[in-house]
Amino acid sequence: MAEAKLAERPVAAAGAEVLTVGDLQAWYGESHILHGVNFNVRAGEVVTLLGRNGAGKTTTLKSIMGVIGKRSGSIRFDNKEIIRATSDKIARLGIAFCPEERGIFSSLDVRENLLLPPVVRPGGLPLDQIFTLFPNLKERLTSQGTKLSGGEQQMLAIARILRTGARFLMLDEPTEGLAPVIIQQIGHTIARLKSQGFTILLVEQNFRFASTVADRYYIVEHGKVIDGFANSELSANMDKLHTYLGV
């Protein structure tokens, strides 16, 4: 019985599409933010959404996570349609989200923050591996969550979703406002997670950082994906990219 269950578990072959977003539209109240977003993510990839402020990158992640009230179109994850699913169901399918504002809880200490997200499936990182990745956290376990430095809070926000067994991680601007040495550490972490088979969808303003970890890029503008290319095509696309990002 247990064996049959294991066999049924959808194990995405390397390179198979795990996430397919089609004509995704989303609204905040009355304002229409996403106007038909199309892109996909394959297993084991690091895909980065680039774009200016307010282009709709964060809204795209939030729509996939199911925390935007009104959305339409199609989001397929592991061959399941999740456009109508509630966020707790989506999380249970193995998608984990690290929000831009990090979302560290001030009424919880570091240990409680770390252990908060429930394990949704087997295969999460054990605590000792998490502490190898983020040694600072181990020393601050009893501190109040929000007493940590910005960099430590970011590490805690990433660390806590690694425990859950989710293999698809969405990181919203993990380097925002952090010192270069910490950005580097987060870069190493993402590379290490990728080598362990995690699939990562990243939103970044920091294009130089993204270029150190990403396999592919999508450009988001005015609530649409307007372009996309692989990291190998990066230098050929530099001029276009400068125009898109206005840098």
Binding site: T86, S87, G103, F105, L108, E112, L115, L116
Partner: protein, 287 residues
């Protein structure tokens, strides 16, 4: 001196009810953002369920302590599912008005069938009588109420502040959207939290039945003072509402001894002072 100790005991007993009720209010406010004006009516229902269990089913006090909170808790969860949940995200005032209306309806129905006079509920045999402590005579039932309330309050505090379930609760109080995005069924947790807060009120109702009799308006009289306690203590803190509840009961008791004329108003005077000096309450966090 005897009279002083007697008033202190009365204060501690009232404090037990204040603590149990304001604790439930604090838990509900944290999670649902609703000022639960129905709390007094649900406290009364707890006492009535105990009365029915005894007189219709022959089920004794000890079982009532367990069953009444569960029944009233289920009633509360139905209220939450059918009505309160639709107020999420609206101003506090809506929840306050709705629960106030619910309280009036529930109390009105009970008054219609049972009038305003009290129904007797006798002290269970095991807790009858009293002990002479030397400096005062302690009725066993009253001592039991104080100790049991304290234990329940501390257990609730432990549940919320020291367990994984409590961590979910505290986190969801801060950021329900994110907690739900971690895979936790937050709406169900909100319903259970309301059930827990309401269950504490019903438990207080059962405890009070042998002391104060069972009356349809027993909650209406008490809840006004409890809201003053909540204002003084501040809505945000669990331990704060427990300590404030007991402390104000004692202060009331002392006032009855030293200056009886002020005993009914002392809590409200303190409320005014606290509102002027520290509007978030003594232990409350800014909203």
């Amino acid at each position: 001196m005897q009279a002083l100790y007697a008033q202190l005991l009365v204060g501690l007993i009232n404090g037990s009810f204040y603590a149990l009720l304001s604790l439930g209010l604090a838990v509900i406010f944290g999670m649902l953002n609703i000022i639960n004006f129905a709390h007094g009516a649900l406290y009364m229902m707890g006492a009535f369920v105990a009365y029915f269990l005894l007189n219709l089913g022959g089920i004794n006090y000890w079982w009532a302590l367990l069953i009444a909170p569960v029944i009233v808790g289920i009633f509360g969860m139905i209220l939450e599912r059918t009505m309160l949940q639709w107020l999420a995200g609206l101003d506090h005032l809506y929840g306050l008005l709705l629960t106030f209306g619910i309280a009036l309806i529930v109390q009105g129905v009970f008054q219609n069938y049972f009038g305003s006079s009290g129904l007797p509920y006798s002290i269970p045999d095991q807790l009858k009588g009293g002990v002479n402590l030397g400096f005062m005579f302690l009725p066993i039932y009253r001592g039991w109420v104080v100790v049991f309330s304290l234990v329940v309050c501390l257990a609730t505090w432990f549940l919320i502040e020291k367990t994984q379930l409590g961590a979910y609760l505290r986190a969801a109080t801060e950021n329900p959207t994110l907690v739900r995005a971690f895979g936790i069924n937050v709406p169900r947790m909100i319903t259970l939290t309301y059930g827990l807060g309401v269950g504490l009120a019903a438990l207080a109702g059962v405890l009070s039945a042998p002391i104060n009799q069972v009356r349809p308006l027993m909650g209406a009289d008490l809840i006004i003072v409890v809201f003053a306690v909540v204002v003084i203590g501040g809505m945000g803190s669990i331990m704060g509402s427990i300590i404030t509840g007991f402390a104000l009961g004692v202060i009331e008791g002392l006032t009855k001894y030293f200056y009886p004329e002020a005993s009914n108003t002392v809590v409200f005077v303190l409320m005014v002072v606290v509102l002027l000096v520290k509007p978030t309450g003594l232990t409350g966090r800014a909203a």
